[in-house]
Point group: C2
Chain length 244, copies 2
Amino acid sequence: MPTRPTHERNKGLALDRSLIARLPLFKGLTAAELDEMLRGARSVRYPKQSAVFEQEAEAHSFFVLLDGHIRVVRTTPEGHQVIVRYISEGEIFGVAAALGRTTYPASAIAAVDCVALVWPNALWSELSLRFPSFGANTYKTVGSRLQETHTRVVELSTEQVEQRVAHALLRLVNQTGQKTDQGIEIDFPISRQDIAEMTGTTLHTVSRLLSAWEERGLIVSGRQKVTVKDPHALVVLAEHRDRR
Amino acid sequence: MPTRPTHERNKGLALDRSLIARLPLFKGLTAAELDEMLRGARSVRYPKQSAVFEQEAEAHSFFVLLDGHIRVVRTTPEGHQVIVRYISEGEIFGVAAALGRTTYPASAIAAVDCVALVWPNALWSELSLRFPSFGANTYKTVGSRLQETHTRVVELSTEQVEQRVAHALLRLVNQTGQKTDQGIEIDFPISRQDIAEMTGTTLHTVSRLLSAWEERGLIVSGRQKVTVKDPHALVVLAEHRDRR
């Protein structure tokens, strides 16, 4: 059972602007403006597997992930889960307020132990008007996510499952990859079931594909771990439908 | 070959605010404010099958559809087409500027003869700051489209093709349906190929499904025309995966 989130603010410490000064989201804000942004926020720890928010819950807050990885998941009425995306360090998420929504359309689950800054939604209008670059950067993020989601629709509509799984791994590598001796490792625990939920296929098919790719030396995979040894070969698999 | 768009503004007539006063997008604006919005716009006719804008072209304008239906299409590098969505009367589209993009991510094609208001992107910041409700309504539209696109990802990931086609028809009926003697007619020309491009399947499969549904009395379909006679039965097909 995951423990409950810990509110750092309870310790009575002011948040330091160095937490957010380097993030593209806050680019262009002065030191005083960063301090003002932070005055509205609190820092919260979310243990691995805990929910930052739940699908259909009232949207009370928006978030910036300081550390960790968040899995955004939609559950269908029949109980099927689809991973909508992963959120990485420095990204804003849970921006229902910015999009005129009153509930969260999906659940956000800590894939590892996470730390996030949390602002009450009531501050969204004020902060986005006061710091227009912050508002514009948020909407730029929304725009990228809309395009990324369209890309998934296109992939699901036109690609074979092998291409989709290759594309999903390449996206994770681009988003979170860490160089290791063996290749580029996806920097958080990811199971074969997670990959199935990202690509609209079954655990069985993902296992079969990963095993075949491992035999061919394209990847190394372990429990909740994937390292891409030959990204170029994976790109070829993902792009060249007629060369499978 | 489609004829070129006609710029109404060339006639030197001012645009009348009655064109937009009734649209939810501009709700809350005074008569003077509506006039000010319109001063930045021109009205353009797009003949059936002409492109309002092309995928990857420089984003110069944003649009509000006054009359007609627009098909938004993404083409893959391999030449596959996927219909991203249909735009109906009163909707804003081509909002690349609002999302910090410099190019259009998809093409917008007139599904029938259309009329749209066209604003230069350079006016986006000014107008959305001056009329915050217009900005907020635009982002609310973007939020709905993001959720709608996630819903398609979920459908493509978890549903059988029969459910997806049923969902697509129900969405079109909700968005554009007109009551007729026979049932609810989708209010613009839609081919079986279009439906295939909306649901990630083939023309052959769509034809097979529509013929079966027609035999069962659920729909009537003709050349580029679909009428839903029994929406309830279609909902049952779309939702109840175990009752197929």
